[in-house]
Amino acid sequence: MIAMLLRDLKLSVRAGGGALIGVLFFMTVVAVIPFGVGPDLNLLARIGPAILWIGALLASLLGLDRLFQAEREDGSLDLILMQETPLVLTVFVKCVAHWIATGLPLVIASPLLGLFMNMDEVAIGATTLTLLAGTPAITFIGAAGAGIAVALPRGGLLVSILVLPLAIPVLIFGVSAVYAAIQEPAPFLPPFLILVALNLFFAVIGPVAAAAALRLSSD
């Protein structure tokens, strides 16, 4: 399992694709927003956390279709299916690797982009923390979509369409936790804990559904 994790990580770094392009996409999306809403710094500071979250959501969806596609193309997907280790576990490890390769760079890049959005320290810290807690959930639920899309000829766009409605709860609680941290009266912990709970919940559902979809689409 560890070997597989390392292999996946190495592949995603070497291919240069996933990780870097995800971060670049994230930066571009966030950088485009001020052109749309105008250079009003107060407004940017107010909507900043939401923009960062939406950008991260879209960026983490971007690479999802590659999660199983490469394995399918070179045939190693069949090997994975035939392995002794439970498929759910394998999918889980692949998700973790995918998150480290694409999700974690987004989290690391978010403080920098927070500065662009004129957010203060608390807001930046809260955004980074919630992104750290929330992006794995997106990856896990996206794995289900990726498993479904493996069977499709051009699954990339469809994955985003299928996964986005399912990722709405993550977005809601992530953003509301950030706003709760900034605005005094609202408590920060409840939404954040729900976000963590969602993360764990999707960590179960996502790999199970993805494993089922992979099995069904292979025969």
Partner: protein, 253 residues
């Protein structure tokens, strides 16, 4: 349809849909007639009852809006049950049922959205509010569209059915979470100004037409559903026949 290896498999693959088609042929005129009668009664009732003193004439929109919204959820439940049938029992009709239900569900959800928006304009003064209930119905609509798109994107119907069954079930697990989170989101951001459609507690004058219309809409759903399932079965037969014809032609040449 895959190559049936066992006699039992063959039976369930061929005979069962055939029997279902026979059943549909006898049942659907009755169901359609019942639907028409119920709609006649329901529409008559909903146009003869006096308007509400607060909402005036617009209360009549409720008689289409509420049943449609109700059906949009029931249809998804039917699809989730069918998805279970596909994955657990491998019932050949279950995937047909799930696929046939998706456009109908999307249609009813669209009716609920449009009539709700037409009700909201005179009542709340705006076409759309990001109210918890409205938002979750909208998300449901998006999920229906995604499912239809997924079904259309795949050539092999049985594989498409299995894969979309997984998605339907994931969505079914997720719908309560989405509803809960949307409610949280709404109350957090605009606690006081949320426009609620509590209205007056429904009295029997409105309840009867609403009930009749709800049953009428459900009957309409069942009629359309079995007819759409029949179409889907016929479509698959045609595909199989085409493949056979192509194969035998190829073999002869």
């Amino acid at each position: 349809m895959s190559e049936p290896s066992l006699a039992i498999r063959k039976f369930s693959d061929l005979a069962n849909p055939t029997r279902f088609l026979g059943l549909v042929a006898t049942v659907w005129p009755w169901l359609a007639g019942l639907t028409l009668c119920l709609f006649a009664v329901g529409l008559y009732l909903s146009f003869t009852t006096t308007g509400d003193y607060q909402q005036g004439e617009t209360v009549r929109i409720m008689y289409v809006h509420v049943p449609a919204a109700w059906l949009s959820m029931m249809c998804y439940t039917v699809m989730a049950l069918s998805a279970l049938g596909t994955l657990v029992w491998r019932h050949p009709l279950a995937d047909v049922s799930a696929k046939a239900a998706a456009p109908i569900g999307a249609g009813f959800t669209l009716v609920a959205l449009i009539t709700g928006s037409l009700w909201g304009k005179p009542m709340w003064g705006t076409w759309w509010v990001w109210d918890a209930r409205l938002t979750s119905v909208f998300v449901l609509f998006l999920m229906y569209l995604g499912l239809i798109a997924l079904n259309r994107a795949m050539d092999d119907p049985t594989r498409a059915a299995k894969v979309s069954a997984v998605l339907i079930l994931v969505g079914f697990v997720n719908i309560p979470i989405i509803k809960f989170s949307v409610e949280w989101w709404n109350t957090l951001h605009q606690p006081a100004s949320v426009v609620r459609m509590d209205g007056p507690t429904i009295d029997s004058e409105f309840l009867w037409p609403l009930l009749v219309m709800a049953i009428a809409f459900s009957m309409l759903f069942f009629t359309l559903h079995i007819l759409a399932m029949r179409n889907e079965i016929l479509r698959r037969r045609i595909a199989v026949l085409r493949r056979h014809a192509a194969r035998s032609a190829g073999g002869a040449a």
